[in-house]
Amino acid sequence: MTRFGRRNEDLPDLMAEAALATMTDAGVEHPAALVVAAMNPEEFTGEGNYGSLLGTRLGLSRVPAIRVETATSSGAAAVYTAYAAIAAGLHRSILVVGGEKMSHMATPRASEIIGRSIDAHERGYGTTMPALAGLITRALMHRRGVTLREISQVAVKNHAQGARNPFAHFQEPVKLEAVMESRLVADPLRLFHCCPISDGAAALLLTSDPAGSPRRVRITGIGQGADTIAVRYRSDLTTFAATQAAAQAAYRMAGYGPERVEVAEIHDAFTPFELISLEDTGLVPPGKAGRATLDGETAVGGRLPVNPSGGLKARGHPLAATGISQLVELTWQLRGTAEGRQVPARVGLAQSIGGLATNNWVTLVEARR
Protein backbone atom coordinates (compact mmCIF):
# COMPACT_ATOMS: atom_id res chain seq x y z
CA MET A 1 0.00 0.00 0.00
CA THR A 2 0.98 3.65 -0.31
CA ARG A 3 1.38 6.05 2.55
CA PHE A 4 -2.06 7.59 3.21
CA GLY A 5 -2.55 11.34 3.56
CA ARG A 6 -2.32 14.35 1.28
CA ARG A 7 -0.60 13.09 -1.85
CA ASN A 8 0.38 15.04 -4.96
CA GLU A 9 0.32 12.04 -7.33
CA ASP A 10 -2.79 11.32 -9.36
CA LEU A 11 -4.98 8.30 -8.57
CA PRO A 12 -3.60 5.95 -11.26
CA ASP A 13 -0.06 6.66 -10.01
CA LEU A 14 -1.08 5.96 -6.39
CA MET A 15 -2.77 2.72 -7.46
CA ALA A 16 0.28 1.72 -9.51
CA GLU A 17 2.59 2.39 -6.54
CA ALA A 18 0.49 0.09 -4.32
CA ALA A 19 0.09 -2.57 -7.04
CA LEU A 20 3.80 -2.75 -7.90
CA ALA A 21 4.78 -3.05 -4.22
CA THR A 22 2.35 -5.95 -3.80
CA MET A 23 3.40 -7.74 -7.00
CA THR A 24 7.06 -7.44 -6.02
CA ASP A 25 6.30 -8.75 -2.53
CA ALA A 26 4.33 -11.70 -3.95
CA GLY A 27 6.86 -12.42 -6.70
CA VAL A 28 4.12 -12.21 -9.34
CA GLU A 29 4.62 -10.18 -12.51
CA HIS A 30 1.51 -11.15 -14.41
CA PRO A 31 -1.69 -11.81 -12.45
CA ALA A 32 -4.48 -13.59 -14.36
CA ALA A 33 -7.01 -10.85 -13.62
CA LEU A 34 -7.36 -7.42 -12.06
CA VAL A 35 -10.13 -6.19 -9.74
CA VAL A 36 -10.11 -2.43 -9.14
CA ALA A 37 -12.01 -0.57 -6.40
CA ALA A 38 -12.75 3.14 -6.67
CA MET A 39 -15.82 4.73 -5.08
CA ASN A 40 -16.30 7.76 -7.25
CA PRO A 41 -13.27 8.59 -9.42
CA GLU A 42 -15.59 10.14 -12.03
CA GLU A 43 -16.42 13.01 -9.69
CA PHE A 44 -13.20 13.13 -7.67
CA THR A 45 -10.82 12.97 -10.64
CA GLY A 46 -12.94 13.28 -13.79
CA GLU A 47 -11.93 9.85 -15.11
CA GLY A 48 -13.83 6.60 -15.45
CA ASN A 49 -13.39 3.11 -16.93
CA TYR A 50 -10.94 2.47 -14.10
CA GLY A 51 -10.36 -1.24 -14.71
CA SER A 52 -8.92 -0.60 -18.15
CA LEU A 53 -7.29 2.68 -17.18
CA LEU A 54 -5.28 1.02 -14.42
CA GLY A 55 -4.52 -2.09 -16.49
CA THR A 56 -2.86 0.04 -19.14
CA ARG A 57 -1.04 2.23 -16.57
CA LEU A 58 0.34 -0.93 -14.91
CA GLY A 59 1.51 -2.60 -18.10
CA LEU A 60 -1.27 -5.17 -17.76
CA SER A 61 -3.46 -3.90 -20.59
CA ARG A 62 -4.40 -7.43 -21.80
CA VAL A 63 -5.26 -8.69 -18.33
CA PRO A 64 -9.05 -8.88 -17.79
CA ALA A 65 -10.08 -6.13 -15.37
CA ILE A 66 -13.30 -5.16 -13.61
CA ARG A 67 -14.18 -2.33 -11.27
CA VAL A 68 -16.23 -2.87 -8.11
CA GLU A 69 -18.15 -0.24 -6.13
CA THR A 70 -20.11 -0.45 -2.85
CA ALA A 71 -19.48 3.07 -1.51
CA THR A 72 -16.91 3.21 1.30
CA SER A 73 -16.54 -0.59 1.48
CA SER A 74 -15.55 -0.87 -2.21
CA GLY A 75 -12.12 -2.23 -1.28
CA ALA A 76 -13.57 -5.12 0.72
CA ALA A 77 -16.07 -5.72 -2.09
CA ALA A 78 -13.18 -6.03 -4.56
CA VAL A 79 -11.47 -8.61 -2.33
CA TYR A 80 -14.77 -10.51 -2.13
CA THR A 81 -15.17 -10.40 -5.92
CA ALA A 82 -11.63 -11.67 -6.49
CA TYR A 83 -12.08 -14.36 -3.84
CA ALA A 84 -15.28 -15.56 -5.52
CA ALA A 85 -13.65 -15.67 -8.96
CA ILE A 86 -10.74 -17.73 -7.60
CA ALA A 87 -13.06 -20.02 -5.62
CA ALA A 88 -15.12 -20.57 -8.80
CA GLY A 89 -11.96 -21.64 -10.58
CA LEU A 90 -12.01 -18.78 -13.09
CA HIS A 91 -8.46 -17.63 -12.26
CA ARG A 92 -5.54 -18.74 -10.08
CA SER A 93 -4.19 -15.31 -9.14
CA ILE A 94 -5.92 -11.93 -9.05
CA LEU A 95 -4.49 -8.54 -8.23
CA VAL A 96 -6.88 -6.39 -6.17
CA VAL A 97 -6.19 -2.65 -6.14
CA GLY A 98 -8.24 0.12 -4.55
CA GLY A 99 -7.72 3.81 -4.05
CA GLU A 100 -9.17 7.29 -3.91
CA LYS A 101 -7.84 10.79 -4.49
CA MET A 102 -9.82 13.60 -2.83
CA SER A 103 -7.59 16.01 -0.92
CA HIS A 104 -7.21 18.33 -3.92
CA MET A 105 -10.86 19.34 -3.43
CA ALA A 106 -12.30 21.70 -0.84
CA THR A 107 -13.63 19.66 2.11
CA PRO A 108 -17.32 20.64 1.62
CA ARG A 109 -17.15 19.48 -2.01
CA ALA A 110 -15.43 16.19 -1.08
CA SER A 111 -18.02 15.62 1.70
CA GLU A 112 -20.82 16.27 -0.77
CA ILE A 113 -19.45 13.63 -3.16
CA ILE A 114 -19.03 11.10 -0.32
CA GLY A 115 -22.60 11.96 0.72
CA ARG A 116 -23.94 10.74 -2.64
CA SER A 117 -24.08 7.32 -0.97
CA ILE A 118 -26.91 8.58 1.29
CA ASP A 119 -30.60 8.11 0.40
CA ALA A 120 -31.69 11.02 -1.85
CA HIS A 121 -34.71 12.00 0.28
CA GLU A 122 -32.58 12.15 3.43
CA ARG A 123 -29.85 14.05 1.60
CA GLY A 124 -32.54 16.59 0.72
CA TYR A 125 -32.62 17.47 4.44
CA GLY A 126 -28.91 18.33 4.45
CA THR A 127 -27.87 15.04 5.99
CA THR A 128 -24.20 14.21 5.46
CA MET A 129 -22.21 11.25 6.79
CA PRO A 130 -21.23 13.23 9.92
CA ALA A 131 -24.88 14.29 10.42
CA LEU A 132 -26.10 10.68 10.37
CA ALA A 133 -23.18 9.64 12.57
CA GLY A 134 -24.18 12.43 14.98
CA LEU A 135 -27.74 11.06 15.20
CA ILE A 136 -26.36 7.57 15.79
CA THR A 137 -23.93 8.79 18.44
CA ARG A 138 -26.66 10.58 20.37
CA ALA A 139 -28.88 7.47 20.27
CA LEU A 140 -25.91 5.33 21.37
CA MET A 141 -25.27 7.59 24.35
CA HIS A 142 -28.93 7.75 25.33
CA ARG A 143 -29.91 4.11 24.80
CA ARG A 144 -26.68 2.28 25.60
CA GLY A 145 -25.06 4.63 28.07
CA VAL A 146 -21.95 5.18 25.94
CA THR A 147 -20.02 8.24 27.15
CA LEU A 148 -18.16 11.11 25.47
CA ARG A 149 -15.00 9.88 27.23
CA GLU A 150 -15.38 6.40 25.69
CA ILE A 151 -15.83 7.60 22.10
CA SER A 152 -12.96 10.06 22.64
CA GLN A 153 -10.63 7.36 24.00
CA VAL A 154 -11.06 5.47 20.69
CA ALA A 155 -9.47 8.48 18.94
CA VAL A 156 -6.65 8.68 21.52
CA LYS A 157 -5.89 4.95 21.11
CA ASN A 158 -6.01 4.97 17.31
CA HIS A 159 -3.87 8.11 17.03
CA ALA A 160 -1.26 6.56 19.36
CA GLN A 161 -1.19 3.44 17.17
CA GLY A 162 -1.18 5.40 13.90
CA ALA A 163 1.85 7.34 15.18
CA ARG A 164 3.75 4.02 14.99
CA ASN A 165 2.61 3.24 11.44
CA PRO A 166 4.73 4.93 8.73
CA PHE A 167 1.81 4.51 6.27
CA ALA A 168 -0.64 6.48 8.45
CA HIS A 169 -2.09 9.89 7.54
CA PHE A 170 -1.71 11.19 11.14
CA GLN A 171 1.64 10.58 12.80
CA GLU A 172 0.95 12.47 16.01
CA PRO A 173 -0.72 11.23 19.21
CA VAL A 174 -3.62 13.30 20.60
CA LYS A 175 -4.66 13.96 24.19
CA LEU A 176 -8.08 13.00 25.54
CA GLU A 177 -8.89 16.63 26.47
CA ALA A 178 -8.04 17.79 22.94
CA VAL A 179 -10.49 15.24 21.49
CA MET A 180 -13.24 16.06 23.98
CA GLU A 181 -12.84 19.80 23.40
CA SER A 182 -12.42 19.73 19.61
CA ARG A 183 -15.09 21.66 17.72
CA LEU A 184 -18.60 20.26 17.33
CA VAL A 185 -19.30 18.86 13.87
CA ALA A 186 -22.70 17.22 14.39
CA ASP A 187 -23.63 17.43 18.04
CA PRO A 188 -22.52 15.34 20.05
CA LEU A 189 -19.90 14.30 17.48
CA ARG A 190 -16.71 16.40 17.44
CA LEU A 191 -14.00 16.91 14.84
CA PHE A 192 -11.51 14.49 16.45
CA HIS A 193 -14.18 11.75 16.42
CA CYS A 194 -14.14 11.86 12.59
CA CYS A 195 -11.67 10.34 10.14
CA PRO A 196 -9.80 12.68 7.78
CA ILE A 197 -10.11 13.06 4.01
CA SER A 198 -7.13 11.12 2.67
CA ASP A 199 -5.53 10.08 -0.60
CA GLY A 200 -3.95 6.70 -1.07
CA ALA A 201 -4.13 3.21 -2.51
CA ALA A 202 -3.73 -0.36 -1.32
CA ALA A 203 -3.30 -3.69 -3.09
CA LEU A 204 -3.41 -7.43 -2.38
CA LEU A 205 -2.59 -10.46 -4.48
CA LEU A 206 -5.06 -13.34 -4.05
CA THR A 207 -4.01 -16.78 -5.23
CA SER A 208 -5.26 -20.36 -5.04
CA ASP A 209 -1.73 -21.72 -5.48
CA PRO A 210 -1.32 -24.14 -2.57
CA ALA A 211 2.47 -24.22 -2.98
CA GLY A 212 2.70 -20.62 -1.86
CA SER A 213 5.41 -19.26 0.39
CA PRO A 214 4.88 -19.31 4.18
CA ARG A 215 4.66 -15.51 4.01
CA ARG A 216 1.14 -15.85 2.65
CA VAL A 217 -1.90 -15.68 4.87
CA ARG A 218 -5.17 -17.51 4.24
CA ILE A 219 -8.68 -16.01 3.97
CA THR A 220 -10.77 -18.42 6.05
CA GLY A 221 -14.09 -16.57 6.01
CA ILE A 222 -15.62 -13.69 4.09
CA GLY A 223 -19.17 -12.42 4.47
CA GLN A 224 -21.33 -9.58 3.21
CA GLY A 225 -24.34 -8.01 4.92
CA ALA A 226 -26.84 -5.46 3.62
CA ASP A 227 -29.28 -2.96 5.06
CA THR A 228 -31.62 -0.22 3.79
CA ILE A 229 -29.97 2.81 2.20
CA ALA A 230 -32.59 4.95 3.98
CA VAL A 231 -31.70 5.31 7.66
CA ARG A 232 -35.36 6.13 8.40
CA TYR A 233 -36.32 2.59 7.33
CA ARG A 234 -34.30 1.07 10.19
CA SER A 235 -35.73 0.28 13.60
CA ASP A 236 -32.46 0.51 15.56
CA LEU A 237 -29.75 3.15 15.22
CA THR A 238 -27.34 1.66 17.76
CA THR A 239 -26.33 -1.50 15.89
CA PHE A 240 -25.54 -2.18 12.24
CA ALA A 241 -27.51 -5.16 10.96
CA ALA A 242 -25.26 -5.29 7.89
CA THR A 243 -22.18 -5.93 10.06
CA GLN A 244 -24.00 -8.57 12.11
CA ALA A 245 -25.06 -10.43 8.94
CA ALA A 246 -21.56 -10.15 7.44
CA ALA A 247 -19.95 -11.45 10.64
CA GLN A 248 -22.33 -14.41 10.84
CA ALA A 249 -21.57 -15.35 7.23
CA ALA A 250 -17.80 -15.05 7.76
CA TYR A 251 -17.81 -17.10 10.98
CA ARG A 252 -20.01 -19.77 9.38
CA MET A 253 -17.58 -20.08 6.48
CA ALA A 254 -14.52 -20.20 8.75
CA GLY A 255 -16.10 -22.73 11.10
CA TYR A 256 -15.28 -20.73 14.22
CA GLY A 257 -16.48 -17.64 16.04
CA PRO A 258 -15.08 -14.41 17.45
CA GLU A 259 -13.31 -16.24 20.30
CA ARG A 260 -10.42 -17.15 17.98
CA VAL A 261 -9.82 -13.59 16.74
CA GLU A 262 -6.66 -12.02 18.19
CA VAL A 263 -6.40 -8.76 16.22
CA ALA A 264 -9.01 -6.68 14.40
CA GLU A 265 -9.14 -3.86 11.87
CA ILE A 266 -12.45 -2.04 12.38
CA HIS A 267 -14.15 0.67 10.28
CA ASP A 268 -13.88 3.64 12.66
CA ALA A 269 -14.82 6.37 10.15
CA PHE A 270 -16.43 7.91 13.26
CA THR A 271 -15.02 6.70 16.57
CA PRO A 272 -18.41 5.55 17.99
CA PHE A 273 -18.56 3.15 15.02
CA GLU A 274 -15.60 1.23 16.48
CA LEU A 275 -17.61 0.58 19.65
CA ILE A 276 -20.74 -0.43 17.67
CA SER A 277 -18.72 -2.66 15.34
CA LEU A 278 -16.84 -4.47 18.12
CA GLU A 279 -20.20 -5.53 19.53
CA ASP A 280 -21.79 -6.24 16.11
CA THR A 281 -18.93 -8.64 15.27
CA GLY A 282 -19.23 -10.33 18.67
CA LEU A 283 -15.62 -9.47 19.54
CA VAL A 284 -16.82 -7.69 22.69
CA PRO A 285 -20.06 -8.56 24.57
CA PRO A 286 -23.00 -6.14 24.09
CA GLY A 287 -22.62 -2.95 26.08
CA LYS A 288 -18.96 -3.58 26.98
CA ALA A 289 -17.01 -1.94 24.12
CA GLY A 290 -16.72 1.47 25.78
CA ARG A 291 -15.46 0.02 29.05
CA ALA A 292 -13.05 -2.31 27.21
CA THR A 293 -11.61 0.72 25.38
CA LEU A 294 -11.13 2.75 28.57
CA ASP A 295 -9.48 -0.29 30.21
CA GLY A 296 -6.94 -0.59 27.35
CA GLU A 297 -8.20 -4.03 26.28
CA THR A 298 -8.42 -2.92 22.64
CA ALA A 299 -5.03 -1.16 22.50
CA VAL A 300 -1.81 -2.70 21.18
CA GLY A 301 -0.65 -4.72 24.19
CA GLY A 302 -4.22 -5.39 25.35
CA ARG A 303 -6.35 -8.55 25.16
CA LEU A 304 -7.67 -7.77 21.66
CA PRO A 305 -5.69 -5.11 19.79
CA VAL A 306 -8.06 -3.14 17.56
CA ASN A 307 -6.79 -1.01 14.68
CA PRO A 308 -3.05 -1.41 15.30
CA SER A 309 -2.69 0.46 11.96
CA GLY A 310 -4.38 3.52 13.47
CA GLY A 311 -7.70 2.68 11.82
CA LEU A 312 -9.58 5.04 9.54
CA LYS A 313 -9.21 7.66 12.28
CA ALA A 314 -5.41 7.88 12.07
CA ARG A 315 -4.22 5.77 9.11
CA GLY A 316 -6.76 7.74 7.08
CA HIS A 317 -9.67 6.83 4.84
CA PRO A 318 -9.06 6.96 1.09
CA LEU A 319 -12.50 5.32 0.62
CA ALA A 320 -11.94 2.38 -1.77
CA ALA A 321 -8.40 1.79 -0.47
CA THR A 322 -9.57 1.27 3.11
CA GLY A 323 -11.06 -2.25 2.98
CA ILE A 324 -7.91 -3.50 1.24
CA SER A 325 -5.53 -1.64 3.56
CA GLN A 326 -7.17 -3.34 6.57
CA LEU A 327 -6.24 -6.73 5.08
CA VAL A 328 -2.73 -5.49 4.20
CA GLU A 329 -2.25 -4.53 7.86
CA LEU A 330 -3.56 -7.93 9.04
CA THR A 331 -1.25 -9.69 6.57
CA TRP A 332 1.74 -7.83 8.04
CA GLN A 333 0.56 -8.54 11.58
CA LEU A 334 0.08 -12.28 10.93
CA ARG A 335 3.46 -12.52 9.17
CA GLY A 336 5.12 -10.74 12.06
CA THR A 337 6.43 -7.82 10.00
CA ALA A 338 4.37 -4.93 11.45
CA GLU A 339 7.40 -3.18 12.85
CA GLY A 340 6.81 -0.86 15.77
CA ARG A 341 3.20 -2.01 16.32
CA GLN A 342 3.46 -5.81 16.08
CA VAL A 343 0.92 -7.81 18.08
CA PRO A 344 1.00 -11.58 18.74
CA ALA A 345 -1.80 -13.04 16.60
CA ARG A 346 -2.65 -15.98 14.34
CA VAL A 347 -6.24 -14.98 13.43
CA GLY A 348 -7.35 -11.52 12.34
CA LEU A 349 -10.70 -9.92 11.49
CA ALA A 350 -11.37 -6.98 9.18
CA GLN A 351 -14.71 -5.17 9.11
CA SER A 352 -15.62 -2.64 6.42
CA ILE A 353 -18.68 -0.36 6.29
CA GLY A 354 -20.16 0.82 2.98
CA GLY A 355 -22.24 4.02 3.02
CA LEU A 356 -24.07 4.46 6.31
CA ALA A 357 -23.70 0.71 7.01
CA THR A 358 -25.74 -0.29 3.95
CA ASN A 359 -23.22 -2.78 2.53
CA ASN A 360 -20.70 -4.21 4.98
CA TRP A 361 -18.05 -6.91 4.97
CA VAL A 362 -16.32 -9.05 7.54
CA THR A 363 -13.22 -10.99 6.50
CA LEU A 364 -11.25 -13.50 8.60
CA VAL A 365 -7.59 -14.22 7.89
CA GLU A 366 -5.24 -16.76 9.39
CA ALA A 367 -1.47 -17.17 9.48
CA ARG A 368 -0.28 -20.27 7.62
CA ARG A 369 1.13 -23.03 9.79
Partner: protein
Protein backbone atom coordinates in the same frame (compact mmCIF):
# COMPACT_ATOMS: atom_id res chain seq x y z
CA UNK B 1 -53.35 20.51 14.70
CA UNK B 2 -51.22 20.07 11.59
CA UNK B 3 -52.40 18.05 8.60
CA UNK B 4 -52.17 14.28 8.38
CA UNK B 5 -49.11 12.96 6.55
CA UNK B 6 -49.18 10.86 3.39
CA UNK B 7 -47.52 7.47 3.80
CA UNK B 8 -47.40 3.99 2.24
CA UNK B 9 -48.18 0.64 3.85
CA UNK B 10 -46.91 -2.75 2.70
CA UNK B 11 -49.90 -5.10 2.27
CA UNK B 12 -47.69 -8.04 3.24
CA UNK B 13 -45.73 -6.91 6.32
CA UNK B 14 -47.84 -3.82 7.24
CA UNK B 15 -44.71 -1.69 7.35
CA UNK B 16 -45.32 2.05 6.97
CA UNK B 17 -42.96 4.46 5.22
CA UNK B 18 -42.92 8.26 4.78
CA UNK B 19 -42.87 9.81 2.23
CA UNK B 20 -44.90 7.38 0.10
CA UNK B 21 -42.90 4.79 -1.87
CA UNK B 22 -43.94 2.45 -4.66
CA UNK B 23 -42.37 -0.80 -3.37
CA UNK B 24 -41.81 -2.03 0.20
CA UNK B 25 -38.11 -1.92 1.23
CA UNK B 26 -38.41 -5.52 2.45
CA UNK B 27 -40.65 -7.05 -0.24
CA UNK B 28 -40.96 -6.43 -3.98
CA UNK B 29 -44.63 -5.68 -3.35
CA UNK B 30 -46.62 -2.55 -4.31
CA UNK B 31 -47.42 -0.44 -1.25
CA UNK B 32 -50.87 1.00 -0.50
CA UNK B 33 -51.61 4.64 0.27
CA UNK B 34 -52.04 5.50 3.95
CA UNK B 35 -52.27 8.63 6.10
CA UNK B 36 -50.72 9.10 9.52
CA UNK B 37 -51.39 11.62 12.28
CA UNK B 38 -48.58 14.23 12.32
CA UNK B 39 -47.45 13.31 15.81
CA UNK B 40 -44.50 11.32 16.97
CA UNK B 41 -41.50 10.83 19.19
CA UNK B 42 -37.92 12.00 18.65
CA UNK B 43 -35.66 8.99 17.93
CA UNK B 44 -32.53 11.13 17.77
CA UNK B 45 -31.45 14.62 16.76
CA UNK B 46 -28.35 16.61 15.93
CA UNK B 47 -27.20 20.09 15.02
CA UNK B 48 -24.95 20.27 12.00
CA UNK B 49 -22.41 23.08 12.22
CA UNK B 50 -21.05 22.80 8.66
CA UNK B 51 -24.09 21.85 6.59
CA UNK B 52 -23.77 21.17 2.87
CA UNK B 53 -24.32 23.88 0.28
CA UNK B 54 -27.83 25.27 0.21
CA UNK B 55 -28.38 24.95 3.99
CA UNK B 56 -27.73 27.51 6.69
CA UNK B 57 -25.71 26.70 9.85
CA UNK B 58 -26.67 25.67 12.43
CA UNK B 59 -28.90 23.05 10.82
CA UNK B 60 -31.18 21.27 13.30
CA UNK B 61 -32.18 17.76 12.23
CA UNK B 62 -34.32 15.16 13.95
CA UNK B 63 -35.37 11.62 13.16
CA UNK B 64 -38.98 11.26 14.34
CA UNK B 65 -41.02 8.07 14.73
CA UNK B 66 -44.72 8.44 13.97
CA UNK B 67 -47.44 6.20 15.31
CA UNK B 68 -47.26 2.89 13.46
CA UNK B 69 -43.48 2.96 13.31
CA UNK B 70 -42.81 5.10 10.22
CA UNK B 71 -39.79 7.32 10.75
CA UNK B 72 -38.98 10.56 8.97
CA UNK B 73 -36.30 13.24 8.92
CA UNK B 74 -37.38 16.72 9.96
CA UNK B 75 -35.87 20.15 10.22
CA UNK B 76 -36.43 22.23 13.33
CA UNK B 77 -35.89 25.83 14.34
CA UNK B 78 -34.00 24.74 17.47
CA UNK B 79 -33.21 21.68 19.55
CA UNK B 80 -33.38 23.47 22.94
CA UNK B 81 -35.54 21.38 25.23
CA UNK B 82 -35.68 18.50 22.73
CA UNK B 83 -34.76 15.08 24.11
CA UNK B 84 -34.79 11.58 22.73
CA UNK B 85 -38.34 10.46 23.40
CA UNK B 86 -39.79 14.01 23.30
CA UNK B 87 -43.23 14.12 21.71
CA UNK B 88 -43.31 16.43 18.72
CA UNK B 89 -45.74 17.45 16.06
CA UNK B 90 -44.67 17.32 12.43
CA UNK B 91 -45.74 19.70 9.70
CA UNK B 92 -44.98 19.62 5.99
CA UNK B 93 -44.20 23.06 4.54
CA UNK B 94 -43.56 22.92 0.76
CA UNK B 95 -43.04 19.14 1.16
CA UNK B 96 -40.29 19.63 3.76
CA UNK B 97 -41.07 18.20 7.21
CA UNK B 98 -40.57 20.35 10.31
CA UNK B 99 -40.84 19.22 13.91
CA UNK B 100 -41.90 21.29 16.87
CA UNK B 101 -42.30 20.55 20.54
CA UNK B 102 -45.88 19.64 21.48
CA UNK B 103 -47.59 21.83 24.00
CA UNK B 104 -50.16 20.65 26.54
CA UNK B 105 -53.09 21.32 24.21
CA UNK B 106 -51.60 19.21 21.40
CA UNK B 107 -51.02 16.34 23.80
CA UNK B 108 -54.50 16.57 25.22
CA UNK B 109 -56.00 16.59 21.71
CA UNK B 110 -53.92 13.56 20.79
CA UNK B 111 -55.13 11.54 23.74
CA UNK B 112 -58.70 12.73 23.23
CA UNK B 113 -58.60 11.50 19.66
CA UNK B 114 -56.92 8.23 20.60
CA UNK B 115 -59.36 7.38 23.37
CA UNK B 116 -62.30 5.39 22.06
CA UNK B 117 -65.11 5.28 24.64
CA UNK B 118 -66.36 8.53 26.08
CA UNK B 119 -65.50 7.53 29.65
CA UNK B 120 -61.87 6.94 28.78
CA UNK B 121 -61.39 10.44 27.41
CA UNK B 122 -61.12 12.09 30.76
CA UNK B 123 -58.63 9.45 31.91
CA UNK B 124 -56.66 9.91 28.70
CA UNK B 125 -56.34 13.66 29.23
CA UNK B 126 -55.17 12.93 32.76
CA UNK B 127 -52.60 10.50 31.41
CA UNK B 128 -51.30 13.06 28.96
CA UNK B 129 -50.58 15.45 31.79
CA UNK B 130 -48.76 12.68 33.68
CA UNK B 131 -46.87 11.77 30.52
CA UNK B 132 -45.82 15.41 30.10
CA UNK B 133 -44.20 15.31 33.51
CA UNK B 134 -42.79 11.82 32.86
CA UNK B 135 -41.21 12.91 29.58
CA UNK B 136 -39.02 15.41 31.38
CA UNK B 137 -37.29 12.54 33.18
CA UNK B 138 -34.39 10.73 31.48
CA UNK B 139 -35.45 7.44 29.93
CA UNK B 140 -33.75 4.10 30.15
CA UNK B 141 -33.45 0.80 28.35
CA UNK B 142 -36.15 0.76 25.67
CA UNK B 143 -35.21 0.25 22.01
CA UNK B 144 -35.18 3.31 19.86
Amino acid sequence: MAQELRASRCPRCRRLVVPPASLCPDHPVKMEAAVLPPLGEVVSFTTLHSPPEGFRAPLHLALVELEGGARLFCHGTATDGVKIGSRVSVEAVDSVFYFSNMGFTDRARLFWRRAGARGERVAAIGKSVVKGVWNRRPRGQDQD
